[in-house]
């Protein structure tokens, strides 16, 4: 059940996407998100979709994995679609019954919204699927390092992020184990009425919290044993180096973004 959660998972590989400099990958992902949300209309969405499909194809990660990352968000997508469908009131009227109205604008926006969110999830999953959490936080730290001058705790933030990411799979595994153990004692966790299930969640959450605190304690001790004392003067095992292919990738992304903007503009006028 919980094994189906793929957010934050990393699939080791050696594709071109895997080998890109993580700093560039983060910037590219940001531009990609801008591309999805600034451009309006079919054309810019089509450009975004094309960009997604090409990247997914290049990453050589099975399409199934992306479907899996979207699956848990289906209820959210459904709610978004329904709300937009009924609440947006613009354009031609398709259907009216008492206070319920479906209009052209509503249909458009709800379809666009759903596609946009799917693309957004696919794109950001691609980032985590192809970049190991450690390089990802390294890159974030480097990208945010100018903020250090403003006394912003960049290193601490990056460290917390990398620890959090690192422990997602561990926590999922732990949760699975505790659920199994409580089920073995006859607790109804995925069966039974809502109230019994809610009650039995206590039997899962209490041990989970306790073990998380224990883990945090152990990790802190282990870090201190290795003389960790913050980011000051710390050197890195893996130095991030950019190469021509990173600049090319960034350039291609920018071209896509501009194309999306231009086509949207041309279609409007």
């Amino acid at each position: 059940m919980l094994k189906d959660i793929t957010i934050g998972q990393f699939f080791p590989g050696n594709s071109i996407i895997h080998r890109l400099d993580p700093r560039f990958k983060i910037v590219i992902t940001l531009i990609y998100i801008m591309m999805l949300f600034t451009g309006s209309g079919v054309s810019s969405l089509a450009v975004g979709a094309a960009f997604t499909v090409i990247s997914v194809f290049l990453s050589k990660i099975p399409f199934k994995m992306f479907a899996k990352s979207i699956k848990p968000l289906l209820p959210f997508l459904l709610v978004t679609a329904v709300i937009n469908l009924f609440l947006v009131d613009s354009g031609e009227l398709y259907f009216k019954w008492k206070f319920i109205k479906i209009t052209e604008g509503g249909v458009n926006i709800s379809v666009f919204m759903v596609i946009r969110i799917i693309l957004l999830i696919t794109g950001s999953s691609l980032l985590t699927y192809t970049t190991s959490p450690i390089t990802l936080t390294d890159a974030t730290e480097r990208l945010l390092s100018p903020l250090k001058k403003l006394k912003f705790p960049v290193h601490e933030l990056a460290m917390m992020m990398s620890i959090a990411l690192r422990f997602i799979p561990t926590l999922i595994e732990e949760t699975d184990k505790i659920i199994s153990a409580q089920k073995a004692r006859g607790a109804e966790i995925d069966t039974g009425s809502f109230t019994t299930r809610a009650k039995n969640m206590v039997a899962v959450l209490v041990p989970l919290f306790i073990s998380s605190f224990r883990r945090a304690d152990e990790l802190a001790t282990a870090m201190e044993c290795r003389c960790y004392n913050g980011g000051e003067g710390r050197t890195r095992l893996r130095q991030l180096k950019s190469s021509p292919k990173d600049y090319t990738a960034l350039a291609i992304t920018i071209i896509f973004y501009i194309t999306a903007l231009i086509t949207a503009h041309l279609l409007k006028s």
Partner: protein, 286 residues
Amino acid sequence: MAVLETQELTYTYSEGSPFEKTAVDHVNLRIEEGEIVGVMGHTGSGKSTLIQHFNGLLKPTSGKVLLDGKDIWENKEKIRDVRFKVGLVFQYPEYQIFEETVYKDIAFGCKNMGLDDAEIKRRVFETAHDIGIREELLQRSPFELSGGQKRRVAIAGVMAMNPEILILDEPTAGLDPAGRDKIINHIKNYHNKTKNTVLIVSHSMEDVAGFADKILVMNKSKLFCYDDTKKVFGRSEEISEIGLDVPQITKVFTQLKKQGLDFGKEVYTVGYAKDLLIKNLRERSI
């Protein structure tokens, strides 16, 4: 009749994904009522996956698990009843403790069974007594107890459900020798008292050699052998080959045999070795 039986039991993790792995591969076995079975195997040999099928936590990819001759997955709604009949104590069970008091935590399983309060109280007191948890501890928070005590509380929680089959996954992992002996003794006493079937997973032959009737060895997802303890230790060399450790005393006797001192019997407990040696020495001195 066999109390537990598997037919061509197979389980594949993450079927169809790049992480696909068959953890249990066409396993057939019959466990008779009242036996103590030692389940052994390397880390990743599939033993933990296998035992999670016995109480219906995992559903076989193919094959069947029969409890008292009935397929446990025949009726999905009844799978909870299977869990009351087959009690499973996980590895490091102290991490599943969550209630405010030791009493409540031991009672959790019984409560889920729907027993009345008087019966729950009787069972909790009895099990706690049998497993060496003093009565005054019952009203304390389980988190104040020592590691060994916590483990015993967790085991008591499953024992109190009085399952027909009790399965313990590495019940002694991470305990000191004294704590280990205590738990093993409590399990022996439980078996003597209830005559229920007991399965103990362990990767230490030393642990189970002394009291298991039968030994089940898993190797690379397959059933390597399942036979009387004596016969299994008769194959001690094969067992060493697949990377499992045989008891030290068995090693000594295998070496003696190689050097020409054959006692003609498989030795796997120190007590038995002592008797055998004394008997032989007496015969010789006569």
